[in-house]
């Protein structure tokens, strides 16, 4: 399988500028491209696929510069948002299409193999409009593989899928990387699946690479509020909100740790009433049991703070209006925006 090097790639789409983006992909590696709406994720994928001209940088496949190659020459399985299935063709016709283009004599048998692999044999005479979201995803993937791509580039693979279909697609993508060694680039909004599928992440922010690294890098240095929320920080505060409440001690303490955009705080543990010293106290607004214990939301000053009560579950859940005390581990406090750093 190929190795890909995305070297300072830049492009323009109307007034939007993307890049420079640097990224390297080994065989079997999966990269998730994250970012809020308008960050340039789809633009990046379309640039890789050859639909937008490069304004700078280059794209190398196994050391060969393919920056000027046409989309059909790139051996890159691009699955756009909405999947781009051919509405006039059946499932069979969709999957067979890339092999028809190549004039493969074994097109029919290989199509049957792919349909069987993706559990589509029973649906092969149906048109895409008559399939469920999960079935359409499987057709898109089978069709992309039929073209024997050297890289799969997928825009929002989990869009509009139910929980079970998402889990299944995650398994299929993991299998692709493992067994076939095809590198994968996915754009996604879904953190759970991004973490289950990807081993490295690129965060785009207004066309620029905000952060690049592993899941741990993202957790240790969530560069902005989007990333912080994406990786699972429940307590993310905007700097403006902190400044408005700086007269309160807890808010002032967070403000001191805040970067230009604000601060993210890992979910603190609520401490027992007796025996353990605590720094802060809040008034319970809600309490919801979950498999790990109880998630409690408390109001401190004018801020809401999510806390965790570890298992075993208490006989009585904290009631609204109760007071709960907690400590904040300084290592779990991360400043966001320019000058971002951990509080430790």
């Amino acid at each position: 399988m190929s190795e890909w090097l995305i070297d300072g790639v830049e492009t323009d789409l109307d007034a939007f500028h993307l890049g420079p983006v640097d990224l390297s992909l080994r065989s079997g590696q999966a990269v998730a491209v994250l970012g809020s709406s308008g960050a340039g994720k789809t633009t990046f994928l379309r640039t890789l696929a050859g639909f937008l001209p490069l304004r700078g940088g280059r794209l190398l496949r196994d050391g060969v510069d393919i920056s000027d190659w046409l989309p059909e020459e790139r051996a890159l399985g691009y699955v756009p948002q909405g999947l781009g299935l051919f509405p006039q063709r059946t499932v069979f016709g969709n999957v067979r299409y890339p092999m028809e283009l190549r004039g493969r004599l074994d097109a029919n048998s290989r199509t049957e193999d792919l349909l069987a692999r993706f559990r589509l044999t029973a649906l092969k005479h149906r048109h895409p409009a008559r399939l469920s979201g999960g079935e359409q995803q499987r057709v898109a993937l089978a069709r992309a593989l039929a073209a024997e791509p050297e890289l799969i580039v997928w825009d929002e693979p989990w869009q509009a899928l139910d929980v079970e279909a998402r889990r299944e697609l995650g398994l299929v993508l993991t299998e692709l990387r493992g067994e076939e060694g095809i590198p994968v680039v996915v754009v996604t909004h879904d953190p759970g699946l991004a973490f289950s599928v990807a081993d490295s992440f690129v965060v785009l922010d207004r066309g620029r690479v905000g952060l690049k690294g592993s899941a741990l890098d993202l957790l240790e240095r969530p560069s902005n509020a989007f990333v912080a929320r994406f990786v699972g920080y429940e307590n993310v505060y905007d700097r403006a909100a902190l400044e408005a409440g700086r007269d309160h001690p807890f808010t002032a303490w967070l403000l001191a740790a805040s970067g230009s955009e604000g601060v993210a705080v890992g979910t603190p543990l609520a401490v027992p009433t007796i025996g353990v010293p605590s720094t802060w106290e809040g008034v319970v607004r809600s309490a919801r049991p979950n498999p790990e214990g109880v998630r409690v939301e408390v109001a401190v000053d004018d801020l809401m703070v999510a806390l965790r009560l570890p298992r075993p579950w208490p006989t009585n859940l904290p009631a609204v209006g109760d007071r709960l005390r907690f400590n904040v581990d300084t290592e779990s406090v991360h400043s966001l925006g320019a000058g971002a750093r951990s509080a430790r």
Binding site: R46, A49, G50, F51, L70, P71, E72, R74, L76, G77, Y78, V79, P80, Q81, G82, L83, G84, L85, F86, P87, Q88, R89, Y97, P98, L101, R102, H127, P128, A129, R143, A144, A146, A147
Partner: protein, 292 residues
């Protein structure tokens, strides 16, 4: 029980009231009546025996044949010339696009006598185009080619508009998928764009055909009578619309109604065949297949 309650409320809220149903039926019914009453009048005025006799009349058959033949060529010409223009207007942004769109709409909005007059002046004996069309074997004045020319000019805009709309409706992401799977631009057009847009284009061609068949204004001026020449070698005849107009002018209302009824049956059968073809799979698509 609790789970059932909202469903009941919801269905009641979304149920159309009897007043609205009655209004819909009344309005739609009135329109259908407007379509059907003249047809009813035609069929009741002409006894069945006259319609059967018209079907056996050589002159009538000749006129119907010439009309179908000329309109068929006009539709083919539209497919050849109008679909590319529709594609151009749908996919390309260029200076003067709005002007071209307006020019395409012109033959639809102006009285067709004006179109006929314009064409007549263009191929007036002695004009360069008169000599040219004669020299290449396509004389248009009072020939089947004249009929084809008028029909194509007044009806091709429907193919342009339908194909433009159909090409615009093809999702660009579907085309990008095809490119990424290995298809060049030409192959993508032939294997994806055209098949996806086909249903709308065929609908446009059907409209084009219908408009061509029903044309009379321009034909009255350019090819009132059709003399043998080109692909037509029968006796002097006219299109069915001109033929019926002549019967009416002569005061032969019964025959005019009989021939009209006969032609209505043929046109209805053709449209019905297309609709049935769509539903039964005889045509390469079914209703709903092309809607994501």
């Amino acid at each position: 029980m609790n789970a059932v309650a909202p469903t009941v409320r919801r269905s009641r809220r979304w149920k159309t009231g009897p007043f609205w149903v009655a209004l819909q039926v009344a309005l739609s019914g009135s329109l259908l009546l407007l379509f059907l009453l003249p047809i009813f009048a035609l069929f009741t005025y002409a006894p069945v025996s006259r319609i059967v006799a018209a079907a056996g009349n050589v002159e009538v058959r000749e006129a119907i044949w010439v009309t179908l033949y000329a309109s068929g060529i006009a539709v083919l010409a539209s497919a050849l010339l109008a679909i590319p223009l529709g594609y151009l207007l749908a996919r390309k942004r260029f200076f003067g696009r709005a002007i071209i769109e307006s020019v395409v709409g012109l033959p639809v909005v102006v009285p067709h006598l004006m179109v006929g007059l314009g064409l007549f002046l263009l191929v007036l004996p002695g004009s360069p185009l008169y000599s040219f069309t004669n020299a290449i074997g396509f004389p248009v004045y009072d020939t089947i080619w004249g009929v084809v020319l008028v029909m194509a000019v007044v009806s091709a805009p429907y193919t342009v508009l339908a194909s433009q709309l159909s090409f615009e409706a093809v999702d660009g992401r579907v085309l990008e998928s095809a490119r990424s799977l290995g298809a060049g631009p030409g192959t993508t057009f032939l294997t994806v764009t055209l098949p996806v847009a086909l249903r709308g284009i065929v609908a446009g061609l059907l409209l084009t055909w219908a408009r061509a068949v029903s044309e009379i204004g321009g034909i009255l001026i350019l090819a009132y009578a059709i003399y043998p020449g080109g692909p037509y070698n029968g006796p002097v005849t006219s299109t069915i619309s001109v033929y019926i107009y002549n019967l009416f002018q002569q005061g032969d209302l019964a025959d005019a109604a009989a021939v009209s009824s006969l032609f209505l049956l043929i046109a209805f059968a053709l449209f019905l065949a297309v609709r049935v073809g769509e539903r039964t799979g005889w045509l390469p698509w079914r209703r709903g297949d092309l809607t994501p």
